[in-house]
Symmetry: C2
Subunit: 278 residues, 2 copies
DNA sequence: CAAATAGTGTCTCTAAGACAATATCAC
DNA sequence: GTGATATTGTCTTAGAGACACTATTTG
């Protein structure tokens, strides 16, 4: 019979085999692309940050930013660190997507990956200025359901196009879970992670709180609506959208100007209100 | 410049420090306790499986069942294995609760825990027969919100009563995240895990699919209603509940009998219907 | 003025909650 | 019959969707 103190002094974690642990992050941004017509508002696209792998394995393939967990940090702080290294932006909220631990998912050996999703505003990325390193780029995202529970994931940046095919797994539970039919050239099992992250993002985008993170401090209600439409890939009527979010925003004194139409009042996110309680 | 094959041959995962990884499971069951009155239906209580720790650290404390991840298995299969070792029952669905990786959370060192919740029917536990090992018991659960975002967690089995106090963390995102004010004698940071698991369980119990796992193959609608009420700690009107779930169940030819009141038709879960699509 | 977005009012439809009323068993 | 649950029907209300209409800007 030994005491707890003695036990801990003798304890050797190296007795049992241990995996390596990583955090990978699907960082999303809504990018507005200018249109030719001065009257029309710009269109918006959902984009995802990918990095080109500089070393083996999957050298030169595109992958989610991520890295190994270091002693003394949590998985979440590791995820934040990785995103900041790539974008210079610290993500506001981090959404857990899932744990990926299938044997063989990484050719280097026993490696478990914790996947997170986060949302970054175009505004903040512009402020810190992209360093134009060709190894990190925002890809436009298309993710649609095909036939027979097949899903098509399209990631496009300039002339690079990654097309993955996934099959949805029946998962008695609500979390999206996918099998890779075609990786589309993405490294590791990242196509699965991206599909799961997109599913989680869309699922949670109806909770209004999330979509504010895509926008700067102040915004018009139309901008807010377009963000939700872009993320969830749906279409809404302005009148109804305004009603729905009216409790979550408050007016400012500013207006937009310069567009070829009626100016819009700028709003900001209302603090300490609804959605916090209950 | 080396090839990927050469790289993998040279790769040594031991170069970087690695954590130990565990899976811990919050297994819930709804237990019906017989009442004295022949006319009244039995009352139901939500219970949680805890095991008494036989060795250091936290010797003799109660803890969630769990164990170290072994090579060649996924985190999920590890969780299933642990539950089966304690109950002889293989849980149907596994719900991810969160990853707990705060430095110092385990006195043995760098140990990351993946927490899952699952739901087990009283029926299946009865069938395999509890082995009456005193080291694994179903505790009755009370989890209520106090003042100032403080939560009280009460776990009771016979004369053992564990009372933990937790504080909810503001987490820009929807997942419950708690700080331990008082552990109530629970091992490690398991009080946090249990609070997070209960939050997740209640959140998802409104998705009807989940609550079927608490019940045997066939059941009455009242039983189903009581399960949802027990899990979510709410009260519903029978008429409305029946309407809401009517699309998810189908009748059988059997009826209950023997109770001091009108017999109820037995239902079963309807397959390949609503909730699967969309 | 034309084109486009900003913003308001209102009708309808559906789902949830409340509640009343009837049915049927064991004792 | 009594007391309990089983089961059905209907009224009310809250919220989402649809749509018509007005307001205001730039060129």
């Amino acid at each position: 019979m030994i005491s707890e103190k003695e036990f801990l002094e003798q304890y050797d974690p190296g007795k049992y085999p241990r995996p390596s642990v990583t955090a990978d992050v699907a960082a999303f941004m809504v990018r507005s692309s200018e249109s030719g017509d001065y009257k029309k508002d710009s269109e918006q696209r959902l984009t995802l940050l990918l990095v080109r792998r500089g070393g083996h394995p999957f050298k030169d393939c595109w992958a989610l930013p991520g890295g190994f967990l270091q002693p003394g940090e949590t998985v979440e702080s590791c995820a934040v660190r990785e995103i900041r290294e790539e974008t210079n932006v610290a993500p506001v909220s981090l959404m857990p997507v899932g744990v990926f631990s299938e044997p063989g998912r990484d050719p280097r050996g026993w490696i478990i990956s914790n996947c997170y999703a986060c949302v970054i505003s175009e505004d903040s990325v512009r402020q810190v200025g992209g360093d134009d390193a060709a190894d990190a780029q925002w890809f436009e995202v298309d993710f649609d359901r095909g036939e027979d529970g097949l899903y098509l994931l399209d990631l496009t940046w300039q002339d690079v196009s990654l097309r993955a095919v996934l099959r949805e797994e029946k998962t008695a539970f609500g979390t999206g879970f996918f099998h890779i039919e075609e990786s589309g050239g993405l490294a590791f099992d990242h196509a699965r992670m991206i599909a799961a992250a997109l599913t989680a993002l869309r699922e949670n985008a109806r909770r209004i709180d999330l979509i504010f993170d895509f926008l700067p401090e102040t915004f018009t209600l139309s901008q807010l609506q377009r963000v939700q439409e872009t993320v969830m890939n749906i279409s809404l009527l302005p009148a109804n959208f305004r009603r729905k979010i009216s409790d979550y925003v408050e007016e400012t004194d500013s207006y937009t100007s310069g567009a070829g139409h009626r100016p819009a009042k700028l709003y900001r996110k209302k603090q300490t209100e609804k959605g916090e309680e209950a």
